[in-house]
């Protein structure tokens, strides 16, 4: 087990280098003259040269990349925004909790819907309830999140005035200059985004859970459990779900990792300044350090989550433990 963890950690390092290298190449090498962008519109050619030197842009590419890695790993410094000179790390870390709030809240909602509905559908296949659920799934997958978000925002927020149209409130209380804060405001502002976000994922997961549970119900060991005299609820929870949820757990880990990397569409629709929103706007402004910062952060998240999910799988499935 320890050897497995060490191997995975080494692999995570390899992944990290590959991702950061690819990202670095995309954002610093390919665009034309990043030094000019950094120096700003009003800069003279001499200023641009100074900036280029400062940013190591006159060095060979490999040296630039090593410097970037060195800054990132040893000093945790992702550079400074071209637009407002703010430390990228700070910007990213301010945006991250917002995305985390959105995603994790949505996860709770979509799992709370998907598990019961998925299990029910699998236990009563082709029943009326199952057919309704599958229609719901089709709708959920087909509806575009942006459209749904806009409609929800318009109807629930603007027309019916039940929920805020957009905006984020910090959980810990109003920051100076903010108009709202505290847990209640936080919840109130996120409930509609959560639900819209959850729709698509709930649809996928209902279908997935229905499928894995249906398969597991046919397994021999489920028949053994019934033959032992186990009551049906025990058979479902201890024997069926305990096995059927294994692939769901893996998928969930990956989906959460990807979503945390930047739920761009819904953050834009609901005006939540999370990672996706920040990255999107940085692109509009050609503010590459920010973009790169978000990408690096998101990549690290995905790599870390991947590792956690793999380890978790080894914990819950004893057949993998000794791999």
């Amino acid at each position: 087990m320890i050897r497995y963890i060490i191997r995975r950690l080494l692999w995570a390092v390899v992944l990290f280098i590959s991702v950061t290298l690819a990202t670095y190449l995309i954002f610093y090498i390919i665009p034309v003259d990043p030094a000019r962008l950094a120096a700003g519109k009003a800069a003279s050619p001499h200023d641009v040269q100074v900036v280029a030197h400062r940013l190591y842009l006159d060095k060979p590419i490999w040296q630039q990349y090593l410097h970037f890695l060195d800054q990132l790993v040893l000093h945790l410094n992702l550079g400074y925004s071209y637009a407002n000179r703010q430390d990228v790390g700070t910007t990213v870390m301010n945006a991250a909790p917002i995305t985390a709030s959105l995603v994790l809240g949505a996860v709770v909602i979509w799992m709370a819907i998907a598990v019961p509905v998925g299990v029910y559908s699998a236990l009563r296949p082709r029943s009326a309830g199952d057919r309704v659920a599958m229609t719901g799934v089709l709708t959920g997958i087909s509806v575009h999140p942006v459209w749904l978000g806009l409609i929800a925002s318009y109807i629930l927020g603007f027309k019916l005035n039940l929920f805020p149209i957009q905006g984020y409130c910090a959980f810990t209380g109003a920051a100076p200059g903010e108009t709202c804060g505290g847990p209640v405001d936080w919840f109130y502002h996120l409930i509609v985004p959560w639900t819209v976000f959850a729709v698509l994922y709930a649809a996928f997961y209902v279908r997935m859970i229905r499928s894995t549970v249906l398969d597991t119900l046919n397994e021999d060991y489920v028949r053994t459990a019934r033959a032992k005299g186990a009551p049906e609820h025990r058979v479902i929870v201890q024997h069926v779900l305990r096995n059927a949820m294994l692939p769901v757990v893996t998928m969930l880990g990956m989906d959460v990792a990807l979503a945390l990397g930047g739920a761009v569409l819904l953050e834009q629709v609901f005006g939540l300044p999370g990672l996706g929103y920040v990255a999107l706007h940085s692109l509009f402004q050609f503010d590459y350090p920010i973009t790169l910062g978000v990408v690096v952060f998101a990549s690290i998240l995905v790599i870390v989550f991947n590792l956690i999910v793999d380890l978790l799988y080894a914990v819950v499935d004893p057949r993998i433990r000794l791999a």
Binding site: D220, T224, R226, A227, G229, A230, Q238, R319
Partner: protein, 339 residues
């Protein structure tokens, strides 16, 4: 007073292609401490018979009729929660494929303990020591550490032993074993059968053994029930069936046993079993029977006792002399060929 008395058991399944009559009027009984072997080809209804008795058929689209009286109660009419108290406790069942019959994410200790605690309110420690006893009794070495192992850490034969331990842990009156050795190699098969015989002596349970292998029947059975296409076509005492068989299908089964003698060819029964969706008219075996005549094609032969032994029944239109002759030929052939 038999332990289990089944009368006119019928089970049918509604499928998209029509109704399949999987069991068509079976009647048999099992005595305390004895072994009944139910023999037949794949698909003849042997497993469904036992699943019906245990109430383990899928509830939707299944119709079961008849009676299965076990200790003064008809299992087929028992409410679900009563039946659950019987399963795993008074009547246990083990299945064919040990590789997939155990939950892969629970230790075998936990699954054995579950079997105990489902039926008795005992603390975990007591249940665990019962589990340990049983695991030792079925011959698994280093039982104490093995209890905390997972099913994938056991071989097929070991897993089947665990299944046997699990089925006997509550000392049931009746153990139903559905082809327990079919998925195992021959040496392991012999070990498992010996184990079952031993445990039957020690625990005094009755056994219903489902198999398609007459060799297995020869080793274990007191009574035999031969099924074909959802019906019973011969049943009786083991020696009666083996030394004075009366039905052409039974003759065919006995003839098809591989011979160790040199030059002996395999003599299978030609053809294959009929579809249970649209069974043939008359005797269901007539299309493959070397002795079929006109009556066989139109009239279903009733299951009737033999003139010598009233407990030996067969469903065949052949007259007495023909049956005697057929029996003699088969038995002679078996004697000649035996080493």
């Amino acid at each position: 007073m038999p332990l289990l008395d089944v009368r006119d058991l019928k089970t049918s399944f509604k499928t998209d292609d029509g109704v399949v009559q999987a069991v068509d009027g079976l009647s048999f009984s099992v005595e305390k401490g004895k072994t009944l072997a139910i023999v037949g080809e794949s698909g003849c209804g042997k497993s469904v018979t036992c699943l019906s008795v245990m109430g383990l058929n899928p509830r939707q689209n299944t119709v079961t009729s008849g009676s299965a009286v076990f200790k003064d109660r008809d299992l087929l009419t028992l409410p679900q929660d009563e039946m659950r108290k019987v399963r795993g406790n008074e009547i246990s069942m083990i299945f064919q494929d040990p590789m997939t019959s155990l939950n892969p994410v629970h230790t075998i200790g936990r699954q054995l303990i579950e079997a105990v605690q489902l039926h008795e309110n005992v603390p975990k420690r007591a249940a665990r020591s019962r589990a340990l006893e049983m695991v030792k009794a079925v011959g698994i070495p280093r039982a104490d550490t093995r209890l905390d192992d997972y099913p994938h850490q056991f071989s097929g034969g070991m897993r089947q032993r665990v299944m046997i331990a699990m089925s006997l842990i509550n000392n049931p009156y009746l153990l139903i074993a559905d082809e327990p050795t079919t998925a195992l190699d021959v040496t392991t098969q012999a070990q498992i059968l010996n184990l079952m015989n031993e445990l039957q002596r020690d625990f005094g349970s009755a056994i219903i053994l489902i198999t398609h292998d007459l060799g297995v029947v020869a080793e274990t059975a007191d009574e035999v029930l031969v099924m074909y296409a959802a019906k019973a076509i011969e049943q009786g005492d083991y020696s009666s069936i083996f030394y004075r068989p009366r039905h052409p299908y039974t003759w065919g089964l006995l003839n098809s046993l591989p011979r160790l003698a040199q030059g002996a060819e395999l003599k299978p029964i030609p053809g294959s079993p009929p579809s249970l969706l649209r069974p043939p008219p008359g005797c269901r075996f007539h299309l493959r029977c070397a002795f079929a005549f006109d009556r066989c094609r139109t009239e279903v032969p009733p299951l009737l006792p033999s003139p010598d032994r009233s407990d030996h029944l067969d469903a065949c239109h052949l007259d007495e002399p023909a049956k005697q002759l057929g029996a003699e030929e088969v038995v002679d052939r078996m004697k000649v060929a035996s080493v």
